[in-house]
């Protein structure tokens, strides 16, 4: 390890050091003043964000080629860090209300973000595995953060068991790939396979296990079983962060590993990926139709959104559309992150202690009593559907366009039909808010309102200039290949 290595991963190093220091400092912060911890955590994230943005997009390798920091990594890091900032804003008031104010919440959140950042840097399967665990273990603890609440504990145990199961699959996949190629670094694996397919069966099974393991993380059907229960049982501020961060990190790793190391598997995998994307879109949207609990509804909606994301992944073996499709995925992720965090901000504002205030009826009259919250939620629901003028529309537009360019017109059509069906349950929320009488109580916490407001403005604002955001995404992936 040299100084240059450390300088290359400076943002991550600073974040880890800051988080560890925060864990210690928090011991001296009195229990009624944990706002200071939140502030310090937010400052650490902002600092890391600044450092990440300042370093530019020139790809640089470090630690003997085990990590690479490039535009792709920086773009995703910005999403993770911004989501982290937003989820601190969501958590501050929520933790007090749920009576779970404990300082380690923020440290765990920051550790999970470090894991996600490391995941985007990973250029060696060892790092992929370590990053996966670094992001997962804090999230297991966070989902069980409401101690003595059965739902939260159940959610944590389920997440833990299935998360560890998926890590076991990923690990065995890595072991098989190492056995077949004698390499763990991504370019090395590619070279080894091109030179001589040492043991093709082992290599194929290894790649398949990696795909299944990461599908668990991204909640792809049929590996989604854990998602609804975990999303419902975990504290809402954790769910909000998890549904953005963990998912984006899973897709980032999948993209990086498969594009760099496994282009040779693309012909075998294309039908499988096609099937996964199609089943996930259809299943997520159909089951969401029957949900009345907002947390579960958003959980199934997030599964459906994974299906759209998976669509970007189907044509990954085609060199011509590759940069377009990765850029479309990054663009969609920005829209998804903003929409999800905003929608959860509204859910958290309405939620009461003991898991009440989460049913659809609890939203009756919300739009009249709190016009701003109602308007923001309407924007988020429209963005989830993919209706203009929102970022969700352009996200889906670019995804479907690259799918068609890659020759998967039927998949794009399926996505379109699924989106139209999804309008039913998203619009039901809007109808409930504006057309049914009711006297809901929502929190007027400034941070919640700020998060919802900024997200709604960004979702609408960026949709007016989608080209510039897409250009950013295209520039980010330019150096990946």
């Amino acid at each position: 390890m040299t100084l240059t290595d450390l300088m290359t991963i400076l943002p991550l190093a600073v974040l880890v050091a800051w988080t560890t220091a925060l864990l210690l400092v928090d011991l001296w912060i009195p229990k009624d003043r944990k706002g200071i911890t939140a502030l310090l955590a937010a400052f650490g994230l902002a600092l890391t964000l600044g450092l990440s943005l300042a370093r530019g997009q020139q790809p640089r390798q470090a630690f003997g080629g085990m990590v690479v920091v490039d535009g792709f990594a920086v773009f995703l890091d910005v999403i993770f860090l911004a989501s982290g900032l937003a989820s601190i804003a969501l958590a501050h008031d929520y933790l007090k209300r749920m009576n779970i104010v404990r300082g380690e919440y923020y440290s765990l959140l920051l550790y999970a973000i470090s894991g996600m950042m490391l995941m985007t840097y990973a250029y060696d399967l060892i790092i992929v595995f370590l990053a996966l665990e670094l992001l997962s273990i804090p999230l297991y603890i966070l989902s069980g953060f409401v101690r003595l609440n059965l739902r939260s504990e159940e959610a944590a145990l389920k997440y833990f068991l299935l998360g560890t199961f998926s890590s076991g699959l990923v690990l065995y996949g890595i072991a098989l790939i190492f056995a077949a190629t004698a390499r763990t670094d991504l370019p090395g694996i590619l070279a080894a396979v091109e030179l001589a397919p040492a043991n093709l069966t082992m290599f194929l099974v290894g790649g398949a296990l990696l795909l299944v393991g990461f599908s668990f993380k991204g909640a792809i059907v049929p590996f989604h079983e854990w998602a609804p229960d975990v999303y419902q049982g975990a504290p809402s501020s954790v769910t909000a962060f998890m549904s953005v961060g963990a998912k984006a990190a899973g897709f980032a790793a999948l993209m990086r590993v498969f594009v760099v190391a496994f282009p040779s598997l693309s012909t075998d995998l294309t039908p499988v990926l096609w099937g996964l994307a199609a089943v996930t879109m259809v299943f997520g949207n159909i089951v969401a139709l029957a949900q009345t609990n907002l947390k579960r509804l958003l959980a199934y909606s997030s599964i459906a959104q994974s299906g759209y994301l998976m669509m970007a992944f189907v044509p990954y073996g085609q060199g011509i559309v590759l940069s377009d499709t990765i850029a479309a995925m990054l663009f969609f992720l920005v829209g998804y992150a903003l929409t999800t965090l905003g929608a959860w901000a509204v859910v958290i504002a309405v939620e009461k202690a003991e898991g009440r205030g989460l049913e659809l009826q609890d939203y009756a009259g919300l739009g009249r009593k709190y016009p701003l919250l109602g308007a923001a939620m309407t924007v988020f629901m429209l963005s989830f559907i993919g209706a203009p003028p929102t970022l969700g529309f352009w996200g889906k537009f670019y995804l479907f366009r690259t799918a068609v360019e890659g020759g998967f017109t039927s998949l794009a059509l399926l996505g379109l039909v699924a989106s139209i069906f999804s309008a039913y349950y998203y619009l039901r929320v809007v109808v409930m808010m504006f057309m049914r009488p009711g006297e809901p109580e929502a929190r007027r916490d400034p941070w919640l309102v700020l998060t919802a407001g900024v997200s709604a403005l960004a979702v609408v604002g960026f949709s007016l200039v989608p080209g510039s955001l897409l250009n950013l995404a295209l520039q980010a992936v330019l150096k990946l290949l």
Binding site: I126, F129, L130, E133, I137, Y140, I141, G144, R147, L148, L150, R151, E153, E154, A155, A156, L157, K158, F160, L161, T164, F165, S167, G168, L169, L171, Y172, I174, A175, L176, F178, A179, A182, T184, P228, D229, Q232, G233, A290, Q291, N293, R296
Partner: protein, 100 residues
């Protein structure tokens, strides 16, 4: 010298019994033991091929895996103790307070 196929075969048997255990057993602790079996199956594969290819990287990987597994044990057992306190059971079939 023992042929390498034996090691690979043992590793596959361990991995498959681990998966079977996760899918079929209902006690969270036994499920967790099966998960550890899966991890160790991978470890066996790493050391086998580290020796076969004369590469140190494979053995290093095992150290990382063991460290991570230890961290997971800490979190997992703590979660199980907590849930046992609330529910007096760690049967995963009874983890059904959420539906839909």
């Amino acid at each position: 010298m023992i042929p390498i196929e034996y090691f690979v075969g043992l590793s596959i048997i361990m991995f498959v019994s681990g998966i079977t255990g996760v899918l079929l057993r209902r006690n969270a602790l036994v499920v967790f033991m099966s998960l550890e079996l899966m991890f160790n199956a991978a470890n066996l594969l790493f050391v086998t091929f580290a020796a076969y290819y004369q590469l140190l990287a494979g053995q290093l990987f095992v150290f990382f895996v063991m460290t991570v597994a230890a961290a997971e044990v800490a979190v997992g057992l703590a979660l199980m103790v907590e849930i046992f306190k609330t529910k007096k059971s760690i049967d995963i079939d009874q983890m059904n307070s959420m539906k839909g």
